[in-house]
Symmetry: C2
Subunit: 456 residues, 2 copies
């Protein structure tokens, strides 16, 4: 970093990417395809059209084009809040007394408060172009639902959000934001769907899970005219849209001649981490650079670090296509004591393949360590991070402290995916010493794994 | 605006102002001085030192230096979130089909969510430099308290916040944010002070007011060793710190050759509006430019449009110096039905003098119109505004609609002081049609005015 480098690097608006980066076009071995659960054959475009709008299906299946144009109607939306800043965490570096340089790409400077808006805008735009009148989705912490509500208000498409019940109780204000943008919010599991009623019958006191909310949203989409389902993570087209994060980050770093050694992201379904690393990973695959990639996940929902690489359903109701991914089993529901987000049982198939093939590492963290990192970050850098994002902060802190011990001047880059404005119940518990740490037992996981479909 | 002008103008970090702008040095007639309530003589530096730290007292009384240097320790803090963006509201212009150009200076891109951080950083820095170990303050909507908690965490000074009780109930998450940054939060009126106990005895069910919380914070500061009181609005030194808003705005406009015709800000105590207009008003006073300045205030707390220009106490407990300002009377407590913020009974003495001398206009708005404007803005521009800020939005909308009717291509600039993340109870009421409009009766105001001290 030169002396002229600002602490917050804002790319000029004219440098907003005009294409997304499709990493699959550069992967030496592709992820295994989604399978139709009836035929066990790879899903075709026709299989997916009843669920997703057509352009998204094309993107989901596109493994050949490295760059896919961002329509002007989406670029126009992006300009409301992008390019997002790349920030030098100099206050944190000073606190840690580390020789490392720490940078973070901050995606929280928009009302939805997270990176999810990048894919929400794209998915609603295509739905509108196709003439759809309504969409359904699920949301966990509420970031995806809020982002989608904003995009639906802008493009004028109706929206029903199935919100994980425990989150809707912990985050009532998230619900109010979605409603302010015109969305209808249903706590899940609910009695409005067969999937919901089934889960309620088996687990009447459950706080819900993303997998369960997905089942409900899918069922509603299939039963409603001119309606489709949209998903905020995991899928290939979502990672594609999120590549705008990585493209901007790379352009900002190159503008100032900064070369990262380590690139870190939190990983729930993988959309932010996949988007952040996309153009960097293409360089690593091509042998041009040797970045170290680290996915940071919660110990209570450790898909990478303790999951199996196998075919599994994307939802608890077992209605989706089968996806080859690192998974804890679609029946896995994280402890309600887990306040840190990233509650999904599976992981992006693209990231799963890269992990399996040794291109990236993963680490898991207990939530008390994660909140410690979050509070330190907030006090030093001003921004209150989302607990999800704080997993990446914890990992970056550990790496920076290692540098202090070894004297290495590594350049650490991480994704700060969002703000913690709507996670204050969790922070309140943390402040009061009420957070408890949790990790599933081996026996629990074995039970969950037993139902996986081990095809390859 | 040329075609090359971005929608969001970010000044380079190197253009961060290095001095604040002290408008009093350019005013042809100065505001009347604060008076000591015992002697009725102008307050001296010595009178103010027990309450405020020394550097702030010097700034409060400085009427001669047009520019006052921003210490590097404060510039360093500012760089965490400044320069803030100046945004072209092109999505709103399209929605309104107006020939007007609308710009807003957005101060919400920081965790406190508002412009209040600009003065909080300065005040805590000087307290730390003076060797103080704790501060007290009051907060209404919670923006000031949050900002101060962030600054106190950064500079490591202890903080007690007296929070208007109705706000602490409507905005529990604001309290949690302050606590996350390490502050102690007391709902006001409380039984921890004589002032609080007195008000509780007279009005046991009151939701509190800023004036009352100020009395409590002041009393605690005076009774605690090595402690001072800090205030987030009204006072001259607060407007001085907020001039960073106007200085950046002016630099950004000049960079792209944009000349505003109308400059609008919401006005509670006046800090944001005073800071925004400071360098522009200096030009108007000097006869160089003829900007139209409009202060937007709530109909339920209409200091400018229905208040009297007179000496009054700054607090309900009648413990502060006497301030010559537009005021509704220090006994005035706005209706608890008022959800839109800007609840203070008085107005900055600088702005009051300018208003009295005809340099600026004021308009008042009922809250249902303000929330309509807020919701439209959120859907068009993405950002969910604070209800306070939405008063300025409403005023800007009205002006833009006028331009549509007359065909005039005016350039409208307004201050978007903050985000509505912590005002969701109010938005929830609005969404459910439960907001009611309120304005004090003439009889109520006359009763309140009867106690004013009419010295000049």
């Amino acid at each position: 970093m030169s002396n002229d480098t600002p602490y917050k690097i804002y790319l000029p608006e004219s440098a907003l990417p005009t294409s997304w980066h499709n990493l699959r076009a550069k992967m030496k071995a592709l992820p295994d395809p989604m399978l139709h659960p009836g035929t066990m054959q790879p899903c075709t475009k026709e299989d997916l059209l009843p669920v997703f709008c057509e352009e998204l299906v094309d993107q989901e299946l596109n493994t050949t084009d490295e760059y896919i144009k961002i329509p002007e109607g989406i670029q126009d939306f992006y300009k409301m809040y992008r390019p997002s800043p790349l920030v030098r965490a100099k206050w944190l570096e000073r606190e840690l007394d580390t020789p490392a340089e720490i940078y973070y790409k901050f995606e929280g400077n928009n009302t939805s408060g997270s990176h999810k808006l990048n894919s929400a805008a794209a998915q609603v735009y295509y739905a509108k172009e196709q003439g759809l009148t309504s969409l359904t989705t699920e949301t966990g912490a509420g970031q995806w639902g809020t982002a989608l509500a904003m995009a639906c208000a802008y493009y004028r498409v109706a929206l029903s959000v199935y919100m994980v019940k425990i989150s809707s109780e912990q985050k009532p204000f998230r619900k109010m934001v979605m409603e302010t943008y015109g969305a209808s919010v249903v706590p899940s599991p609910s009695d409005t769907t067969e999937a919901g009623r089934k889960i309620l019958a088996e687990h009447p006191t459950t706080g819900g899970s993303l997998g369960c909310a997905i089942s409900e949203a899918l069922e509603t989409a299939m039963k409603t005219d001119n309606c489709r389902y949209v998903l905020g993570s995991v899928l290939n087209h979502v990672l594609l849209h999120q590549s705008v994060i990585g493209l901007e980050t790379k352009a900002a770093l190159e503008m100032y001649g900064i070369e990262p050694d380590i690139i870190i992201g939190c990983a729930g379904g993988g959309s932010n981490f996949g988007g952040l690393i996309s153009p960097f990973m293409a360089e690593k695959i091509a042998g041009k650079k040797d970045y170290e990639f680290i996915a940071a996940e919660p110990a209570s929902c450790p898909s990478f670090t303790r999951g199996r690489y196998a075919y599994d359903f994307g939802d608890t109701g077992r209605t989706t296509p089968l996806i080859k991914m690192y998974t804890l089993g679609c029946g896995f529901i994280p402890s309600p004591n887990h306040a840190g987000g990233l509650r999904y049982h599976g992981m992006s198939p693209i990231l799963s393949k890269l992990y399996c093939d040794g291109y990236l590492k993963a680490r898991s963290y207990i939530q008390s360590d994660v909140f410690d990192a979050a509070a330190l970050f907030a006090k030093c850098e001003g921004t209150l991070p989302a607990p999800e994002s704080a997993h990446a902060i914890k990992c970056a802190l550990d790496e920076a402290v290692k540098c202090r011990e070894t004297g290495e001047k590594k350049v650490i880059l991480f994704g700060l995916t969002g703000t913690g404005f709507f996670d204050l119940s969790a922070y309140d518990s943390y402040n009061k010493g009420l957070l408890t740490d949790y990790a599933p037992s081996d026996a629990d996981l074995e039970k969950s794994f037993a139902e996986l479909i081990a095809l390859r």
